[in-house]
Amino acid sequence: MQVSEIMTRTIRVASPEDTLQHAARLMAETDAGVLPVGENDLLIGMVTDRDIAIRGDARGCDPTRTVVRDVMTPEVRYCFDEDDVEAVAKNMAQLQVRRLPVLNRDKRLVGIVSLGDISHRPDAEAAGEALRGVSSQSARHSQSIE
């Protein structure tokens, strides 16, 4: 099964110059905990609800001034829409992430795949394994489903 068959396709993308408040509103609309950050149609980072809460609202921070570029995780892990789901689940476990952006062959962002998406497969072992892998250490990115 390919990632393209289970990923979430319609996604909001934040721009690096968006304020944290704007990014938070995008997240509220989509009910997602993570937003890809795009510049010129390319993926340059990811920002999570945790990034926004912690960097936006801890004392001294102003979420109407702080921009996404300041808090996003710039190095981007991703997978391709034609990748096999099982392989991607293992990869996510190794990378310690719960979501991965999905690119097509032209390296354009086409979706996001999450452990939740993977768990809806008939063979749910992949998600269990991946979740165990992700839970075994504290996550590097705060891309938490919780």
Binding site: D57, A127, G128, S135
Partner: protein
């Protein structure tokens, strides 16, 4: 297996009059994304997560100098430490939550069990709960 065998007991709590800023700072400093909101007797009044802060405070343009009491989730999903883990997991699936509070007869918080904790004991079982919990997420 019983809940008290698995639950995390060293759980950081915050009082309801603590501010959103306080909670965000604790989450940042301790590397956590979740806090039970408790009174002086460790009775759970609600919960707050990093996501709650992002959505209910930052997105809404609310001041983070306000008390958690205003923004916390008041519905608390709980079980007893002596309950079977299966029961706790069933409840988490039904209520679509990724954490459950373990509260004793006197109403005191004794521990917390999360989906990640369940995953560490049996991958297959956690997948089912994960599926139920993630159904709560809106799919565009």
């Amino acid at each position: 297996m019983l809940c008290h065998d698995l639950m995390k007991t060293a759980v950081r709590c915050v009082p309801p009059e603590a501010t959103v800023e306080d909670a965000a700072a604790i989450m940042r400093d301790e590397g956590i994304g979740f806090l039970p909101v408790c009174d002086a007797r460790r009775h759970v009044l609600g919960t707050i997560t990093d996501r709650d802060i992002a959505i209910r405070v930052v997105a809404a343009g609310e001041s983070p100098a306000q008390a958690l009491r205003k923004f916390m989730t008041r519905e608390v999903v709980a079980c007893r430490p002596g309950d079977d883990l299966d029961y706790a997991q069933e409840l988490m699936s039904q209520e679509r939550v990724s954490r459950i509070m373990c509260i004793d007869e006197s109403g005191e918080l004794q521990g917390v069990i999360s989906l990640s904790d369940l995953a560490n004991i049996e991958g297959k079982r956690a997948s089912a709960t994960l599926r139920d919990v993630s159904d709560r997420e809106v799919r565009p």
